[in-house]
Structure formats: structure tokens, C-alpha cells
């Protein structure tokens, strides 16, 4: 990351982004990081966006100092939960320190009715009971946002290779009974391919999510503090452009969608069979994460269409 990406989003840029979204008739905004609550104006920014009638969702680890939590509680706890939400990304407690665990607990206590848990799947071994325990203990929102770790272009991170996704799928579905008993819906973030689940597994997952299951992959549109926009976190190094070059969110979406389409036309999906898959054609499934697909070509000569390369 270069220095400009390390700086905080400024007030002026926040106002610009809020105006941009308003013109685009978008009324929802997510605050991410790093850890967004570390921003020196986090509370001010959040309350400002709420004043402007945005629904604000904050992606947080929940790990914060007492002072910070006190600040958040003072200004945010009385906001109606339909206007403000937190997605608290959890690691398994055995991977966190005691202090971190305490801080997370305090956060969850304070903002229970606002919070959905998130969990990033980066290995085939899954131990998810703690999530349900937290939901029950703190009376959190009864939904878990499962994300798949995807290869970050230009970076080195841990993720499940495509060939092992089926193993992960079985282990995830094994928890459906637990989710069902506790009235917890396991939802998917983008990049999950449909075919790693059997028909029966898809049925169980669909029931647990009231019939709504998504196997999407498309531009999510992230904006950095330096006002650069990119398609999504895994593709944050690819085809970045300045927000100032666009007139609306639709334009940004179309720009990145166009790139996605070109890549998908070239590659299809993360599996070879994606190319001929009817569900890819009818967009019931988007063939897994596009970053995965591009990553598979990293050892090739750069002879394919330009859109694949940054």
C-alpha cells in the first residue's frame, strides 16, 4: 500500500462521497477499513451520514478501547437499528488474545441489536459453534455473513484453493442443523460457487435462508481515502480509477461490470466446467470469485485480453 492509501478519509472527501451517493440515489453506505472505528472522526462521520439519511453499515472487528466504545455508545446506541448496523467480523476465540476477546464481548453487549456476525472462511477446517454461542449470548441479529477469502491480486494471503472448495462446502453444510436449531441464517458474501454444494446441500442452505441464496460475484465498489475506486477488495489492485472521473454510481458499476464481463468471457469461472455451465449463463451462479479465476492465470504469459491484467 502506498502512503496515500494509509491516510484517513477527510471530511471534504466524505462530503463528496455522500453527495455522489445521493445523486446516484443510493441511500446505503458501508464503512470499512482496516478498522474503521480507528478513524479519528469515526463517530462524527457516522452521525453525519445518519443525519444525511443514509443507512450506515460498519464492518468492524469489535476490538476497541474502552474510551472508544464509550464514545460510540454515547452517540450511536440510541440510533434506531434500522438505520445503523454493524457487521462484526469474528475470528475463532483461540486466535484472539484475552484482551481482544473481552473487548469484543463489551462491544457485542453494547450494540447487540445492531450487530450481525461475519466470518471469513480461509481454510477447510471449520469450527463455527462459537458464532452461534455469541448470537445467543448477546442476542445478536440471527444471521451470519460467511465470506470466502479470495486471492488478493498483487498480494499474498491465505485462501482455499478452488480444488478444495468442495471439502469446505461439506463442512459448512454440516453446521446447518445447528443453525436451524438456533434460528440462525447462514448467508454468503460474494464469490461462493454454487456447484461446490450438492443438490441436497443447496436445499438445506436455501431453507435456512428463507429461500434466498446468492452465488454472486460483481462490482461491490470500494472507495479509498484517496478517492480511488475499485471493484472489490480482492481486485483492489486492478483497474483502479479516481471517483472524480465518474458522474454516478451506475457509471462506476458499469465500468467495472464491463471489465468483469470481459474477464468472464475469456475465462468463465474458477472451474473449467464453468464455461459451459447453464447456471453461469443464466447468472444463478457467477462462477465463483473473479479474483480466483484471474489468479489461476498468474503463471501464464500475458497473452490474454488486457482486462485481466491491471
Amino acid at each position: 500500500m502506498d502512503d496515500s492509501a494509509l491516510t484517513e478519509l477527510s471530511w471534504d472527501n466524505l462530503i463528496y462521497i455522500a453527495d455522489f451517493l445521493e445523486i446516484s440515489k443510493e441511500h446505503k453506505i458501508s464503512l470499512l477499513g482496516g478498522e474503521p472505528t480507528l478513524h479519528s472522526h469515526f463517530v462524527d462521520f457516522t452521525t453525519y451520514l445518519l443525519e444525511r439519511n443514509f443507512h450506515v453499515n460498519v464492518f468492524t472487528s469489535g476490538i476497541m478501547s474502552k474510551e472508544k466504545l464509550k464514545d460510540l455508545t454515547l452517540y450511536l446506541s440510541k440510533i434506531p437499528p434500522e438505520r445503523l448496523s454493524f457487521t462484526c467480523n469474528m475470528n475463532h476465540p483461540k486466535l484472539s488474545t484475552e484482551k481482544e476477546i473481552d473487548q469484543i464481548h463489551e462491544f457485542l453487549k453494547a450494540f447487540a441489536s445492531f450487530t450481525t456476525l461475519g466470518y471469513n472462511i480461509y481454510q477447510t477446517d471449520l469450527d463455527l459453534e462459537f458464532l452461534v454461542q455469541y448470537i445467543n449470548k448477546y442476542k445478536l441479529r440471527r444471521h451470519i455473513r460467511f465470506g470466502l477469502a479470495h486471492p488478493i491480486q498483487g498480494g499474498k494471503n491465505t485462501y482455499i484453493p478452488a480444488s478444495e472448495l468442495g471439502i469446505m462446502a461439506k463442512k459448512l453444510v454440516a453446521y446447518c442443523g445447528l443453525f436451524e436449531q438456533n434460528n440462525v441464517a447462514p448467508g454468503f458474501d460474494c464469490g461462493m460457487p454454487m456447484c461446490i454444494f450438492s443438490e441436497e446441500e443447496l436445499g438445506k442452505l436455501s431453507k435456512a435462508n428463507k429461500g434466498v441464496l446468492k452465488f454472486g460475484c460483481g462490482p461491490a465498489i470500494d472507495t479509498g481515502p484517496d478517492m480511488m475506486v475499485w471493484s472489490c477488495f480482492p481486485l483492489s489492485g486492478l483497474h483502479k480509477k479516481s471517483l472524480y472521473e465518474f458522474n454516478s454510481m451506475q457509471e462506476i458499476h458499469d465500468y467495472f461490470k464491463n471489465i468483469h464481463n470481459k474477464v468472464k468471457a475469456e475465462i468463465g469461472g474458477i472451474f473449467e466446467k464453468c464455461v459451459t455451465c447453464v447456471y453461469l449463463t443464466n447468472e444463478a451462479c457467477m462462477g465463483g470469485c473473479i479474483a480466483h479465476s484471474i489468479n489461476q492465470l498468474k503463471d501464464e504469459q500475458m497473452n490474454r485480453i488486457k482486462a485481466i491484467y491491471s
Binding site: 477527510s10 471530511w11 471534504d12 462530503i15 455522500a18 453527495d19 445521493e22 445523486i23 472522526h41 463517530v43 462524527d44 452521525t47 453525519y48 443525519e51 444525511r52 452517540y75
Partner: protein, 287 residues
């Protein structure tokens, strides 16, 4: 002729003599608003109340009692956003313009925040420094932003009233344009604007002399002051934006980096807005 609005302190005797004129009451003390409230039912033709405070905006305790008062609050600093937060709803209900000083960089952002939260506001210049780039950015926001937002002065006043072939004096926003406002003190001394009053440059005495102001030599000299600039043949006389600035920053030495750039952009913005206004007018057939 009673076409001038009189800017004066809160002095009951003086106000009684000005009962047939529109007035702007000026003060440095917010507490005066209570007393003015009591006067509202009497024959007071109140155009506005100008309060110049020395506390940050966020430190002001806005009151429900002020709902009926036309307020212009001048504050040196924006202060803390979160301290203002709990008062935003009340402020939006008030008949108010909030002015922040050009001296502090945070104020330019503060004004964007206020405007984007639907609070009418403006920048004022108190002989302090100006961040010209920030002001240009603020002006662009005020004029070109496609989002709905409250007015930011003096930009909105100027572009709304702009006629390309007229001279514009944006000091009207601050009650300091002698073509529209005259300043009177407790001793009934008349000055052309606030600064002239502070510097004791009195051009007339007594309320009745307000009716003869158009034949007052000093008044006419001031109204025609732009011609002195033209005669001096200085930089301002050759500036493309002269008609909207009228050499208010004549004292600056590096105009090419400061006022000239800003006002050139500003007059372009005014032209743009003028074209927009005219193109929107629907020509309806006449009865």
C-alpha cells in the same frame, strides 16, 4: 426616501426613532436576543439580527425562543461537530444564517458540513487571512454541486442576483453595502458601513439626514468608488472579474495567486448559473 435598511445597536430610544424603517440590529451578545423578543410586538421592522460572537459555533446554545427571530450569527470557528450534533434539528428550524470566519481552514469544511445538512451559512472576512484555494473549492461546491444543499454566502447571493452587465457588491450579504444599508450608532451618527463606523468616519448626523443621503457627497463618492480604481489604472482595473469584486482585495500584493484566480472562477460560475437560470425559464404564451 426610506429605501435604506439601517444597521444599528439595540438601543430602544434609537429604535423608536427608526420605527418607519427596516433595521438590522447588531450586537456582540447573544443574550440580547431575549430583549429583542420583547420588542417584537412593538413597531419594529426587523430585517435581521446580527450577532458577532467570539465563541465557536458548537459552543453556542441555540434556543427554541429564537424561532421567530431572523438571525445572522457570526462565529470565528466551527468547533466540534459532535457538540453541534444535538442542536442540528433546532438550528434547521430557525430562521438563521451562520457565518464562519475565513481565517481558519476548518471553517471551509465546516461550511460544507452545515450546507450539506441543510443549514444556510456563509463565509465572512474580518481582515484575517483567506485560504483562497479552500474558498474556491467551497465556491465550486456552493454553485456546481448537483446535490440539494443549503445556501453558502456570499456565493449564492451573488450567483442568484448576478446580471452579467451589472456591478455586484456582495457586501450586501454582510449588511455592508451602502447602496442598501447604512450604519447608525446611539448618537445617531451615520456611517457607510461597519468598518467606517468603527473608524469613526461619520458622513452625517441625525435620523432625518438619512432621507437626504442621496445628495450626500461622501455617500456618492463611495457609491462611485469603482471609478477611482479605474483612474488609478492598477491591477484591479484590468481584472476580468472586477465587476463582482470591485477591488475589495486591492491591498493584496500577489493577486495572480489569490483574488484574481478566485474571482475569475467565481464570475465564470456566476455566468454558468445565469445561463442555467435563463435556460430553465419556460416561455409561456401570454394572456
Amino acid at each position: 426616501m426610506k429605501d435604506h435598511i439601517i444597521v444599528c445597536p439595540f438601543d430602544e430610544q434609537l429604535l423608536a426613532k427608526l420605527s418607519e424603517r427596516n433595521v438590522v440590529i447588531k450586537s456582540h451578545d447573544l443574550n440580547i436576543l431575549q430583549s429583542i423578543q420583547k420588542h417584537l410586538n412593538k413597531s419594529l421592522r426587523l430585517h435581521a439580527i446580527k450577532i458577532q460572537t467570539d465563541v465557536p459555533l458548537s459552543a453556542i446554545s441555540f434556543q427554541e425562543d429564537w424561532l421567530k427571530l431572523p438571525l445572522a450569527i457570526y462565529s470565528p470557528e466551527f468547533g466540534n461537530y459532535r457538540d453541534l450534533l444535538h442542536q442540528l434539528n433546532l438550528i434547521r428550524r430557525l430562521n438563521i444564517r451562520i457565518f464562519l470566519s475565513s481565517e481558519y481552514d476548518d471553517n471551509y469544511t465546516g461550511l460544507k458540513i452545515l450546507s450539506s445538512l441543510n443549514i444556510n451559512c456563509g463565509l465572512y472576512f474580518n481582515n484575517g487571512s483567506i485560504n483562497w484555494e479552500a474558498m474556491n473549492d467551497l465556491m465550486h461546491y456552493a454553485v456546481y454541486s448537483k446535490t440539494k444543499h443549503a445556501h453558502i454566502e456570499p456565493f449564492d447571493w451573488l450567483v442568484s442576483n448576478y446580471e452579467p452587465t451589472d456591478y455586484m457588491d456582495y457586501h450586501s450579504v454582510y449588511f455592508n453595502n451602502p447602496a442598501k444599508y447604512l450604519h447608525v450608532n446611539e448618537k445617531e451618527q451615520i456611517a457607510l458601513n461597519e468598518q467606517e463606523m468603527l473608524n469613526n468616519r461619520i458622513i452625517g448626523d441625525g435620523i432625518p439626514s438619512l432621507d437626504r443621503i442621496h445628495v450626500n457627497e461622501h455617500y456618492n463618492d463611495f457609491i462611485n468608488a469603482r471609478y477611482d480604481i479605474m483612474l488609478q489604472m492598477n491591477e484591479c482595473a484590468y481584472c476580468p472579474a472586477f465587476r463582482i469584486c470591485l477591488a475589495k482585495f486591492e491591498h493584496l500584493t500577489n493577486k495572480n495567486d489569490t483574488c484574481k484566480v478566485f474571482f475569475s472562477d467565481f464570475i465564470n460560475a456566476a455566468d454558468y448559473s445565469f445561463k442555467q437560470r435563463n435556460s430553465k425559464r419556460t416561455k409561456i404564451w401570454q394572456l
